[in-house]
């Protein structure tokens, strides 16, 4: 895991046993995780009795570094060995790595959800209803006599459903079905690496 200089410095300060005792270390790591997950930014997240005696500027720097580290770790889906090797390079003791990893594991799923919610995605099709119709004639042509399908896709996006309606001829529908099959096949192929 690559870390920028400021993050490294912050974490090294956090590793310093003289500045942080065990309880304040644990409190800070826990607070960093919670501050990422709280829905509205809570300015009082660092106002804890264990963290009172620490210089506020240093505390804020370390908090920034810790949150960055946590986010990077979750982004890369880092496992325990990766995290512990990175923290070892930053002079963390084995005990503290253990504490960090246990808290990290506790919150990892939630942070993953948070990261997964960033981005765009297309609507998802939940259901489909169709009707075969017959086009006999229109104002311009007396005899058309063509079948066509009218299709309604029930899609869902961000919790609200929406219908997509369209009509297509036989060939177009076959094309669509063929494309869908291709897509399913590609997904299957991708799963068999």
């Amino acid at each position: 895991m690559e870390l920028s200089e400021s993050v490294q410095r912050g974490l090294q300060a956090l590793a310093d046993a003289s500045a942080f005792d065990q309880s304040s270390f644990q409190a800070l790591i826990d607070a960093s995780h919670r501050s990422l997950l709280s829905s509205h930014g809570d300015p009082a997240v660092l106002d804890q009795p264990e963290l009172k005696q620490i210089d506020q500027i240093l505390l804020k720097q370390i908090h920034t570094a810790a949150t960055t580290f946590i986010l990077e770790a979750v982004k890369q889906n880092a496992d325990k060995s990766t995290i512990s090797s990175s923290l070892e390079e930053l002079t963390f003791s084995a005990e503290r790595i253990e504490i960090f990893c246990s808290i990290y594991q506790k919150y990892k799923k939630e942070v993953e959800h948070l990261l997964a919610s960033i981005g765009r995605r297309p609507a998802q099709i939940n259901d489909v209803s169709w009707r075969l119709q017959y086009h006999m004639k229109n104002g311009q042509v007396d005899k058309v006599n063509e079948p066509f399908y009218s299709i309604s896709l029930n899609s869902e996006k961000e919790g609200c459903s929406e219908d997509i309606n369209f009509t297509c001829t036989m060939e177009q529908l076959q094309d669509l079905v063929g494309k869908l099959k291709d897509a399913a096949k590609s997904v299957e192929k991708a799963s068999q690496m």
Binding site: G41, P43, Q56
Partner: protein, 633 residues
């Protein structure tokens, strides 16, 4: 043989043969099983050849015979050199089948193993992880939205998604940085007011994206600086700070030039729009930095002046209008409108006035500058003229006593030439050591230059080495991790290590046996030697005794008798030894025969013969049935 059979069965199972768990030796293979195993092996080795063969033995005897023949032919096509025919499959004997299966298993392609040996990079690991994730998601059944369990919500239904939105964060800078002295106010702000990063923005997703973005930006900036410093910075022989400041001034200069070249034409062409020009000139002054700011203010802003002017006017108008607000409404409105119109007129007039005035001012300043220039030129010309006049005045003064003055002048000239020569010689004296000194210093300088460039190249090569080795270390770590995961995945396949262990055991056993054999060989050699020794001794002693006794036998009757006994004893002993040797050879023959019998028993000859008889009868029955059919038909 157990080991061999186990390996064979494992390989056959991998090929796809349907072997039950109980079969653990080739002895237990039935004809059907043998045919299936052989056909599956052939299909893997050569699909075109194998696909024509059936994996199941048919019921009809003649069909079986044909299948056996075609299988034997296929095996020979692949390259099996041993004896093979339909009987190998139908009336199997253990050693033949074993050797055939061993041949086929050895022929099996090894691509699978090689493929797993290939080292693959980080991307391959990632792709594999992605494939595993997709596979897991595909395995989950699709459920309509109403029935979804919360477990599957994350993959099947869409939670509200947020776009990647980045906002700048305010970070407390590190106090450890020694060259940045923070103001006390800044520190106070950071200590007491600045909220932690996660509380600075309202939405938590934008907090997350902003933090990630910030980190990435820092990382990439550091990388860029690193690469630039390694490529250019080191060669410039400056400290990083100097290099940075030099680059900054260079950039500033370039921007300033660009801005100036862009600002000049617009300032000339657009007198009506002075705002852009003045803004740019402000910018220029800001870039210069050292220029006093009040100068900027006084010089730049016609625009700000007009603005100030109009705003104060309006404000004054407003204050005027407030006291009159108490009168009748219609009156008030009318009056207000009139007032407004009047004020607007006034304002417009003032604006035009200002424009006129500013244009006038510009004109004036231009003419002023021209006049100033002219003045300077005139003054210069004046000074020149005055100098000329003085020279002429002096020459006129000297004219009356021309000869005397000429002599004096010549003397002066001579004296000055002498002085010049003197000075030149003195200069030469001083110059020589100075030049030497200069040369010496130059040499030192060049040698230092060389030294420094050498060191620079050394530093560069060191940097390169560092980079290369860090990259290598990273790569190795990655491959290590990958191999670890692969090892974890491979753990189910214990057989390999077991096989190697067994092979090692077998090898050690063979070594022991070899040692024993050599021991026994040396023992037999010794025995042979002893036997030879003893026979030689016996012969010699017999010859000596025979001679002695024969000599005495001529004289004495009783001795003659004993001589006869001696000859009989010798002959009998010879007989005995002969018999013992004969028994040994017979025993050996018996053992050989027993082995042969066992081998024959292993071939299941009797059973096979019975089966052949049965099959023969079956074929005859089939033939007669066919013949009956033909007759009926």
């Amino acid at each position: 043989m157990e080991e061999v059979d186990k390996i064979l069965i494992h390989a056959l199972k991998q090929v796809g043969t349907d072997l039950s768990e109980e079969t653990d030796s080739v002895k237990q293979f039935s004809s059907e099983l043998i045919v299936e195993a052989v056909v599956r092996c052939i299909r893997v080795i050569d699909p075109a050849l194998g696909n024509a063969l059936p994996t199941l033995l048919p019921h009809g005897m003649s069909a079986r015979f044909r299948v056996g023949m075609s299988l034997a032919q296929a095996c020979q096509d692949i390259g099996y050199k041993g004896e093979i025919g339909y009987q190998t499959f139908l009336y199997s004997s253990e050693p033949e089948i074993r050797s055939l299966l061993m041949f086929l298993v050895e022929k099996l392609p090894r691509e699978r193993f090689e493929a797993s040996d290939q080292p693959s990079g980080k991307s391959a690991v990632l792709q594999r992880a992605i494939a595993a994730a997709i596979k897991a998601q595909l395995a989950v059944p699709w459920l309509p939205p109403n029935c979804r369990l919360p477990k599957y919500c994350e993959t099947q239904s869409l939670l509200a998604s947020h776009s990647f939105h980045v906002q700048p964060l305010s970070l407390p800078h590190c106090t450890k940085d020694p060259d940045k002295k923070h103001l006390k106010e800044v520190k106070d702000y950071q200590r007491n007011v600045l909220s932690p990063v996660t509380a600075q923005l309202s939405s938590r997703t934008s907090v997350v994206s902003s933090i990630l973005e910030q980190h990435t930006a820092e990382l990439s900036a550091a990388q860029e600086w690193d690469s630039e410093w390694n490529s250019q910075g080191l060669l410039s022989r400056l400290t990083p700070q100097e290099y940075r400041s030099r680059k900054l001034t260079r950039l500033r200069k370039r921007i300033e030039e660009q801005l100036r070249s862009a600002a000049l034409p617009s300032a000339e062409s657009a007198c009506g729009v002075p705002a852009s020009a003045s803004d740019l000139s402000e910018l220029l002054h800001a870039f210069r930095g050292s220029a006093p700011s009040d100068h900027v203010l006084t010089k730049s802003t016609h625009f700000t002046h007009t603005q100030k002017f109009t705003f104060t006017q309006e404000a004054a108008a407003v204050t005027h209008s407030i006291p009159t607000g108490h009168q009748l409404e219609g009156d008030v409105q009318l009056r207000q409108q009139e007032e407004l119109a009047a004020l607007q007129e006034q304002f417009q007039q003032l604006c035009t006035d200002v424009e006129h005035l500013s244009a006038d001012m510009k004109l004036m300043s231009v003419t002023n500058a021209q006049v100033l220039d002219e003045l300077k030129q005139r003054e210069l010309a004046n000074v020149q003229n005055e100098e000329k006049m003085q020279v002429k005045k002096k020459t006129i003064d000297l004219l009356p006593d021309a000869d005397g003055n000429l002599l004096q002048l010549q003397a002066l000239v001579e004296a000055s030439t002498k002085r010049v020569v003197n000075l030149a010689s003195q200069w030469e004296k001083h110059r020589a050591p100075l030049i030497d000194e200069h040369r010496r210093l130059k040499e030192i300088c060049s040698s230092q230059d060389m030294e420094s460039s050498r060191k620079l190249s050394e530093i560069k090569s060191l940097h390169d080495k560092i980079r290369v080795s860090t990259e290598e270390a990273k790569k190795k770590e990655e491959t290590y991790k990958q191999l670890l995961t692969e090892l974890e995945n491979l753990n189910q396949d214990v057989s390999r290590s077991a096989y190697t262990q067994r092979i090692l055991e077998i090898v050690s056993n063979i070594k022991k046996q070899k040692e024993e054999i050599t021991k026994i060989l040396s023992d037999t050699k010794e025995l042979q030697k002893e036997i030879n020794n003893l026979t030689g001794k016996l012969d010699r002693t017999f010859a000596v005794t025979d001679e002695l006794v024969f000599k005495d036998a001529k004289k004495d009757e009783s001795v003659r008798k004993s001589y006869k006994y001696l000859a009989a004893l010798h002959e009998n002993c010879n007989h005995l030894i002969q018999t013992i040797e004969d028994t040994g050879t017979i025993l050996r023959e018996i053992r050989d025969l027993e082995e042969q019998i066992e081998a024959e028993n292993g071939n299941k000859t009797v059973a096979n013969l019975e089966r052949i008889l049965d099959d023969y009868k079956a074929i005859r029955q089939e033939n007669s049935a066919l013949a009956a059919k033909v007759r009926e038909g």
